[in-house]
Symmetry: C2
């Protein structure tokens, strides 16, 4: 029943073989030594690191070397607005906030509001702008430090970004884009150019601060092709290669294949009501349990393919002991599918209750997150 | 000896067959009826119209229809900085100023400072910026009305332009760019995207003024492929197709083939000294005269292939009677090659003396020509 694995910045389907991705993309698995190095600075390890939700990266030791020399890195991540935010989106951002807090560093958060507009035939510009505003509320609600977090919006900050994107673009041929993203001659020319804009936040802070700064990009592994290209180009422009730390995908309700995406039924949105969450988990969440209570009690469930359990593991339960207990009890049949679902529903609804409150408050703070200097520096000799 | 005719936005060589271009590009020759319509509003016809230097166009009658209904058009032209300004550049701008004065209309003058940077491997960004500043001085020196003239610089005004360029880009495939410009998969992705930025000034004033305005683009015919594409796309975005009025090329000193381009010896720059002008015309300007004075007096010269004469006709002598007299006298052998060259040298040096003075003064006025609102309007719902 498994569909063929496809992992591109625009499509993730099938049974994801992460070891194969590590090999194909050429990223490094995060080893215990690196985890120890991180722990030296953060005191504790985030559960997403302990559980290998963030499992791979590029140049993490370089980032730590520089940090230890007193050369702080900044974080760069982003969101291409094309719909509402679901739990799968939040996962890497929750981890990003942890990194910001523990390392006390700046975060540059890109909203490439042209990306999905260019790649989705049906997405109107105005619709994308509405999504962007809504998405910003979710990101602010996660508690990023407004003094250290800068939203960069491609359409708003193009005055800063476009000329830098051109410098990147001059070094990328259509052939390279073709082989990196698998697009062809029928692609529109905006979508072909786009990857240059995605490269810019990896060095824009170095321009703004007039100092070459290391950059760490936390992201889901499907975005790697963009940053692979960015890593090739940036040293040619005199900047560091951006490092990355990459996570696996939060699965959709329908099962542990693919990733949670914007399909209404199989995703849990940040604005869902407690009733909706309850209904979605009960109705759609793929279970590793047995068909009948009797069988379940006898044989036990399989937490490894159980979507509600995976949500606990990857996103909701930070207590390893509690998680292990649930794992064992579900596997032994002590916890029934309905009971496990109830635990997850409560966890999600507790989280969302708080999130939705903060999301409402965020409406007052959007402005303070948007980077305010969107005029480019005056060209030399021009008395502007 | 004629090289094959090549006319693209990046290359013009060979013996230009303008009738063939009209057919291949699908533009319309400007006929007497259209000239009469123009004259109704301008009282007189510019010598570049009388002499068919501006010889073709698209939708000129639409522009006049709208003008007569009270719907004024605006002018859009531009300069991609990549070197100093020569007389060949000035030709269409001198005519553009005349249009601005006679029709009392706005001019949006684009400086696509990324274009040549993207298309020329060796052009560094900073070098392009220096050229741009110098180029602006030449344009201001021509006397455009600062109240009605707005310089739009792609890198500075990208905050206004980039999102509009994306709307254009979404409707242009790489296939279309390939067939319009003859570039291939080895082209960099900035150069592929670029044509979308060139389209923007054709409708940006409509956005700024919140009114759909007709646009007239005066330009040399080699730029037609850009605007052909623009004309296909703009109605799909709800704007008028931009109209155009197109000129032939001012020939290089070396002969009436090709166009004056940035080859040091064969072009006359706006900053050339009287001595340099004298030397260039005397040494390099291709002459239609005979090898010896005796032969010349007997057979006469050929003004149609004589570069100095063509400069008089296309750029320097607005008096038809004087021009005709020179034509006849040169053809009959009454005027010698050296004498004709002397007339042209004086004309150019008179012009440049004045131009260089105004060019110096222009340094004080650059700021007032650059469009000052380079922040995009706030996205709806966002309290920026």
């Amino acid at each position: 029943m498994s569909k063929e694995m496809i992992v591109t910045p625009w499509e993730v389907t099938g049974n994801i073989d992460y070891d194969r991705l590590i090999k194909e993309f050429g990223v490094e698995k995060i080893n215990d030594k690196t985890l120890e190095r991180i722990k030296k600075h953060t005191k504790e390890l985030h559960f997403m690191l302990r559980r290998k939700v963030f499992f791979a990266g590029r140049d993490l030791n370089f980032i730590l070397d520089e940090y230890e020399k007193g050369n702080k890195f900044f974080l760069y991540t982003g969101r291409a607005p094309s719909g509402p935010i679901h739990l799968g989106h939040l996962m890497p951002w929750i981890f990003t906030k942890w990194l910001q807090d523990k390392f006390d560093i700046e975060l540059w958060f890109q909203f490439p509001d042209e990306e999905k507009f260019l790649f989705k035939q049906d997405l109107a510009w105005e619709q994308g702008q509405k999504f962007m505003y809504e998405n910003m509320l979710d990101i602010i609600a996660l508690g990023f430090d407004p003094k250290k977090t800068h939203f960069i919006v491609d359409s708003i900050h193009a005055g800063l970004m476009y000329k830098e994107a051109c410098k990147v673009a001059k070094k990328i041929t259509f052939n390279m884009v073709k082989s990196s993203f698998g697009i062809d001659d029928s692609a529109n020319i905006g979508s072909i150019f786009y990857t240059s804009m995605q490269a810019v936040p990896a060095f824009l802070p170095s321009i703004i601060k007039k100092k070459n700064l290391p950059c760490l990009i936390p992201h889901a592994i499907d975005q790697d092709p963009h940053f692979r290209l960015t890593r090739d180009i940036l040293p040619k422009l005199g900047y560091y290669k951006p490092a990355s730390i990459q996570c696996i995908f939060l699965p959709p309700l329908s099962g542990v294949e693919g990733k949670m995406s914007s399909s209404k039924e199989y995703s849990i949105y940040t604005t869902d009501s407690p009733k909706e969450v309850e209904k979605k988990i009960n109705k759609y969440a793929f279970s590793g349990g047995q068909p009948t209570i009797e069988e379940h009690k006898k044989i036990g469930g399989n937490p490894d393919i159980d979507v509600p359990f995976q949500y606990l593991r990857m996103l909701l339960e930070d207590d390893d002991k509690k998680l292990e207990q649930i794992y064992k009890d579900y596997k032994s049949g002590k916890i029934l599918t309905g009971e496990l679902k109830k635990i997850v529903i409560e966890k999600i609804n507790d989280f969302l209750k708080e999130h939705q409150k903060k999301r409402e408050e965020a409406k007052k703070h959007v402005e303070s997150f948007i980077y305010q200097k969107n005029n480019p520096p005056t060209p030399k000799g021009m008395s502007l």
